[in-house]
């Protein structure tokens, strides 16, 4: 496949199609609507299902139905719409059906605005719906990763019968950059649907997709089953990036767009002689706990940078457990942290730690 200039929202929609997504259900919401519009054209073209639902509540329940019937299915939305999907996500966790949700986050709370933010971290990583459940959460930092994570999200969802979330933000959804789409994978053949799926009980016992366990002991056993599955995911599916950390005394910890902005700041500070690197969780759940713990033993200080008021910060603090100081810099409400601002925080930390640093020429900070 050739490298193309692609808009994030279109790129992940097309990536989903090529990953074999057979049914898309969605509701218009800025800044992800281009994904819905792409699906409105492409899915019927390919003889697949596209439905514009009457609400995000309906959209996620349509996804629940299509997933229960055993096909690859997804929705995409942005923060206020995703809030409305929490009921469906809890039911899908409780009945173990696979599906993909792309959340192109925007500023909040409430109606907020349509500018990029990362303030759905807690809702998506900790589970905004009711019950003890988890979903795999992938955090892309480029249009290429938005594509790759969408494909990976489908594969992980099927492997573990779980909901996979691609947690992007408005800047990733709206930006255009060079990226490569994967080859088209054929949808699963109708007769190759999973054994648990609803397809009509022909020549087998009836199947039931349900999240009800009225007997508390049975419900507890089911929860233990879920926890065992989550432990298996934590053991096998953690993904993260380490950037310039070998000799670093300061580690910036950031995900998604915040990490990308931090990389620019880090390049400038490196040029000025600051031993700083980046630790970027790619899976927000499962969280890269062990790698971050090891890192906290090697560096002198950590700076968490987020486009929220410190939601992942709580996880970093929990893992680091005071092995080193953890600072925080966040912009929120749709405001993005500028590399200069991040660099200033890194520099202040370096000075505090007694590092000898020179002023970096401004042009190095690109």
């Amino acid at each position: 496949m050739a490298r193309e200039l692609l808009k994030g929202n279109v790129a992940f929609a097309e990536a989903a199609i090529r990953a074999g997504c057979e049914a898309y259900f969605g509701y218009p919401i800025t800044p992800q609507t281009e994904a819905l519009e792409h699906m409105a054209v492409r899915m019927p073209e390919l003889g697949r299902t596209f439905v514009q639902a009457e609400s995000e509540v309906a959209a996620i329940n349509m996804v629940y139905g299509a997933a229960a019937a055993g096909v690859r299915t997804m929705t995409s939305s942005s923060s206020p719409g995703v809030s409305l999907m929490m009921e469906g996500l809890s039911y899908m966790a409780g009945s173990e059906v696979p599906a993909v949700v792309v959340d192109v986050m925007r500023g909040g709370p409430g109606l907020g605005n349509i500018a990029p933010a990362q303030s759905d971290y807690t809702q998506m990583v900790k589970g905004g719906g009711h019950g003890d459940y988890r979903q795999i959460v992938l955090a892309p930092a480029s249009v290429q990763e938005l594509i790759d994570h969408t494909v990976l999200a489908f594969d992980l969802a099927d492997r573990y019968r779980i909901v996979s979330v691609v947690l992007a933000d408005g800047s990733l959804g709206q930006m255009m950059e060079g990226a490569e789409l994967p080859a088209m994978r054929p949808p699963r053949a109708a007769d190759a649907s999973p054994a648990w799926a609803l397809s009509g009980a022909k020549g087998r016992d009836t199947n039931l997709i349900s999240s009800i366990h009225l007997d508390p002991d049975e419900e507890e056993r089911f929860n233990h089953h879920l926890q065992a599955k989550y432990a298996a995911i934590e053991a096998a599916e953690i993904r993260y990036e380490e950037h310039l950390l070998d000799d670093a005394s300061i580690a910036v910890v950031a995900f998604g767009t915040a990490a990308r902005l931090a990389k620019t700041a880090i390049a400038g500070e490196r040029a000025a002689g600051v031993a700083v690197g980046l630790f970027r969780p790619i899976t927000l759940w499962p969280f890269p706990t062990d790698a971050l713990r090891d890192l906290s033993e090697r560096v002198e200080a950590i700076l968490v940078v987020e486009m929220n008021m410190g939601q992942m910060l709580e996880d970093v603090q929990r893992v680091v457990a005071e092995r080193c100081p953890v600072g925080f810099f966040g912009r929120t409400g749709g405001v993005m942290p500028m590399p200069e601002e991040i660099a200033a925080r890194i520099r202040a930390l370096a000075v505090e730690l007694g590092a000898a640093v020179s002023d970096a020429p401004e042009e190095v900070r690109t």
């Binding site: 009457e54 139905g65 299509a66 229960a68 609803l198 397809s199 009509g200 009836t206 039931l208 009800i212």
Partner: protein
């Protein structure tokens, strides 16, 4: 010479346990008409030889356990969302016979948007709407279908028009929607009505099979427990109080099969 008559031909059973029902005893209260509705649907699934390609979607309320009683593939939806879930199922499994089974709290209150828009889209699903004018599972609270003046645990002085509004007639409402092909109201209060209900259930499944659009059969049903009546008195309440508020009839039917399909 024997005085005995010659042996009769083998007796043919005319009434037996439907294949599409499991042998699980239901949790329904004595005198509740859910059991009748289940049986009618199961008989029709058998008659259509559709058991192996039927997918049901259960709702939340007294019918929450419907999946236990039908011997077909089933999904258990969130409260009110059965039409959305059924949309997802039917769109990716067009060859399946898909139905929802919903009560009045589920369909007319919390799921009002989902049922309305399933009809607007003309989803090829069949909806069985069991209307007993009350929330049964939670113990007898007011529903949008509760009659004016009817006492419930959340309208203890009777439903008051000024503050609680009055009955929502879903069949009449949905019949206004172009995507709805077949919308009828029947009752389960006596044998004649039950036989009419079964014919409507059959027709509602056929409308789906013929791809004519959204089909719904509303079934007036009794709730002796929460109405505080004997089963017999509850059937009388349907006939004397509910039917005047919810007239029986066909609100939307395909004019002819050819026309409706055009």
């Amino acid at each position: 010479m024997s005085v005995l008559a010659p042996p009769e031909p083998a007796l043919t059973p005319v009434y037996s346990y439907p294949d599409a029902l499991t042998h699980v005893p239901t949790h329904y209260c004595p005198g509740c008409t859910h059991g009748i509705a289940h049986r009618l649907i199961a008989e029709v699934i058998d008659e259509m030889a559709a058991k192996e390609r039927t997918i049901g979607v259960a709702s939340v309320g007294c019918s929450v356990f419907a999946y236990r009683y039908f011997g077909v593939d089933f999904a258990q939806a969130a409260h009110g969302r059965a039409p959305a879930m059924a949309t997802g199922v039917k769109r990716v499994r067009p060859e399946a016979l898909v139905f929802t089974y919903q009560g009045d709290g589920d369909l007319a209150s919390i799921g009002a948007a989902e049922i309305l828009h399933a009809a607007v889209r003309g989803e090829q699903i069949t909806v069985f709407f069991v209307n007993n004018a009350i929330y049964g599972m939670t113990g007898g609270q007011m529903a949008p279908t509760t009659l004016l003046g009817q006492t419930t645990t959340s309208s203890p002085a009777g439903r008051d028009r000024a503050t609680m509004g009055t009955v929502l007639r879903m069949s009449e409402l949905l019949a206004q929607v172009d995507g709805a092909a077949y919308v009828v109201r029947r009752s389960l209060h006596d044998v004649v009505q039950i036989k009419r209900a079964k014919k409507a259930i059959r027709r509602a499944f056929e409308v789906q099979e013929q791809g004519l659009g959204f089909a719904m059969v509303e079934l007036l049903s009794s709730c002796p427990t929460n109405w505080g009546m004997t089963p017999e008195a509850a059937l009388g309440y349907i006939r004397d109080e509910m039917v005047p508020a919810f007239p029986l009839g066909d609100f939307k039917v395909p004019e002819t099969r050819a026309e409706a399909g055009a």
